[in-house]
Symmetry: C2
């Protein structure tokens, strides 16, 4: 039988897993520092829970099948809808509920370079808080995670659906065509302003007034500093109450970012950000990296009405999602992925079977001292045992022969420079610890 | 829409997640101490990869469906077959390959108390080592994990398929009926000796000789001490080369356990252990807890021929699996699950909007000091904010009013005893650290 892995899916061998685990550990650490708690939900949901929440395109990409002749089930498509279901089913959860969730999701997309059918999302959401300090906190966390991962060239783009709506209405878009308008605007990064104009014309939405408003805004918005940008948006929504609310919301978010000393060069109030999903109701945000060009690495926004789809009671909610796969791609491309760094710190060689009880006892001593230790399983030639250590990049090899053992000693070889010395067996753990501190 | 979770599936709210995460962290820590490395594989495999590997019963329980009109895919049923596929596809992996994998698996079983359709397995396997020191190491790890989790009353049962085969052949079972014999013997714990006799009679396998051999062995085997037990087994396989090999294998495993000071009361050479799966070729093992009675919590064995199903080259392999769900059930029943222990260590209350920039700055200071900190999002009445902290069991609340702030001070309240004191804001982090050390 020819072993195969399904198209669009991946195995992660140890070296890649270590980087993934380090990323997830950094995120978890930051999330908990802000008081977020872990949640896990099943990989399968009833299909009806997911369908109709992600637009037509989304519905097509959901993996669904019949569960043992019972109901249709589906592999989860993101972590937001399962969270909404959990909150609706568990009214006892204390609000605001701040949770994180790091887990795979599935999309039956056409596999292509950099696009997979199974990938991890890392989400933080705050349920039950109307305050914009909550939305601001999500962005402070975004900034903190990216900084702690060593990212330098990134920009968090921030906008507000209320401002977009006010702008659209002020420029003659009928209320019921708003989603259409936003979907076209969302393509600005991909198709440029002319592409957006073409699509809006096709949809019969492009007036001269809208054309010139869009042109002047996209030219100005990105360049202005934060205060100027907010003032510009303020002018834009004059006479539109909801739009003014949107601008006030941006101000509070700005205040939160300043309060946490977020580098002003790392965020931008960006009128052209639209985000794809229909369910956003207020602030929306995403993070782009300027190098390498790879699209957005985080995305989110406020979705105050979504939980109401599952429950008589609704809850204000806001959240953001980190794309683990893209973060890793960037770290690998920028060379900031860590060098080969094996789990095992020392290998104890096997001279012969007679000495194995001693090897096991020394291994136990080292492990008790917190040193990751392997004992070589077979009495192979020493050269073969050293080759194994070298291929696995194990930094130290402890060699025990009968003469050394009868003197209570052991020889330890530094695999990176070839030096070796002979120590008392009882000193080995402390010696290895010292090497680790002063390599 | 009425929110529902599919039958046989579970959400894990934060309190339960914390215990799960602690368990997985302990295991990972022990696995790495023995030089095991992480691997991850997709949740979906091609159906043909899984089918025919777990017996008829297993095939029925595999969740399978058509992938976008392409090939049949299936949710993974365990972590061993995916590992075998990975090893067959990646000949470059250095052997022995010691890997761990902690991940969910799926079985379309009838949901019932304590049996779920989605559950976690925690597996360690060693690929490419024929030495019994490898099998012994798996048992040392089993012991170490259970000890570090606080388990007291458990017994690792150890047997060897080669001994079982020799016994069966010496007692008149034809070679081709061996799997039948083992499947009946495997039910000893559930049905008792009489039940096994009944089933063997039904299958036409029970001779008088087999009956008396089984009766005397099951009476003696469990009681004898380890050396006596091995001697007994040695007598059993006289004249059967493969059986003698099996006994020699048990001796090396015993040596490994002694070398690592494993408590002799925690393991047993147990002739009646058979294990369900067909693919085991040598040592087999499982762990039972004597209280509460809950079945086995780990299980595994050597499967030297399995990888050959996927590859021209085959590799010796041995592994064991921890049942996360059962471990948790036991920890909860024995009350060794940790007490409510929230993520957040301190909540900073909000007096009014004016003071929020200061709250954010203090929060930043605390987070930079590694203290998990929440800032309350709304200027609610203080009583409401304290109630939130108390419901979430947050141990400290930092209260900042304008008078305190103008003096550079802050009041901190210990929620468990109600005491409070006023400190300099700059001293808060150190004060909280000190409380943590001397609660």
């Amino acid at each position: 039988m020819d072993p195969q892995i399904p198209k669009g899916f991946r195995d992660f061998l140890p070296e890649r897993m270590r980087l993934r685990k380090r990323l997830m550990a950094t995120m978890t650490d930051v999330f908990e520092r802000f008081g977020f708690e872990p949640l896990d939900t099943p990989c399968l949901e009833y299909a009806e829970t997911l369908l109709g929440k992600y637009g037509e395109e989304g519905d097509r990409l959901i993996y669904k099948f019949q569960d043992r002749g019972e109901r249709m089930v589906a592999l989860r498509y993101d972590l937001t809808i399962p969270l909404s279901r959990v909150v609706a089913m568990h009214p006892e959860i204390i609000k605001p509920f701040k949770r994180y969730h790091i887990a795979p999701v599935w999309r039956a997309d056409k596999p292509q370079k950099g696009r997979f059918r199974e990938f991890y999302q890392c989400d933080i959401d705050i349920i039950g808080a109307t305050s914009m300090y909550a939305d601001g906190e999500l962005l402070v966390i975004t900034y903190t995670v990216l900084k702690e991962l060593g990212f330098k060239n990134f920009i968090i783009r921030i906008n507000n659906r209320k401002i977009l709506n006010a702008f659209a209405v002020n420029n003659g878009i009928p209320e019921d065509r708003l989603p259409d308008f936003l979907r076209s605007l969302d393509k600005l990064d991909k198709t440029g302003l002319e592409g957006v104009f073409a699509e809006l014309t096709e949809k019969g939405l492009l007036s001269d007034r809208l054309r010139s408003s869009l042109a002047s805004l996209t030219a100005e918005g990105a360049a202005a500093d934060h205060e100027a940008c907010i003032a510009l948006l303020d002018g834009l929504v004059q006479g539109h109450a909801l739009g003014q609310e949107g601008v006030a919301e941006l101000r509070t978010i700005h205040e939160t970012l300043k309060g946490h000393d977020v580098d002003p060069a790392c965020y931008r109030f960006d009128f052209t950000l639209a985000r794809g999903l229909d369910y956003y109701t207020g602030p929306i945000f995403e993070t782009i990296v300027t190098e390498p060009k790879i699209g957005s690495i985080t995305g989110g926004g406020r979705y105050d009405n979504l939980i109401g789809l599952f429950s008589k009671e609704t809850f204000p909610a806001t959240g953001t999602s980190f794309g683990l796969e893209r973060l890793i791609t960037i770290m690998e491309e920028l060379g900031s992925a860590e060098a080969k760094h094996p789990v095992t710190q020392v290998l104890i060689t096997q001279f012969d079977r007679e000495l194995m009880p001693r090897n096991l006892r020394i291994a136990r001593m080292l492990r008790d001292a917190g040193i990751n230790t392997e004992v070589y399983f077979s009495p192979d030639k020493l050269k073969k045992q050293l080759t194994y250590a070298s291929h696995k990049a194990i930094p130290f090899v402890a060699i025990l022969g009968p003469d050394e053992d009868s003197a209570g000693k052991i020889t330890v070889k530094n695999m990176s420079n070839g030096t070796q010395e002979t120590l008392l067996q009882t000193e080995l753990a402390a010696w290895l610890h010292a090497q680790h501190r002063n390599p």
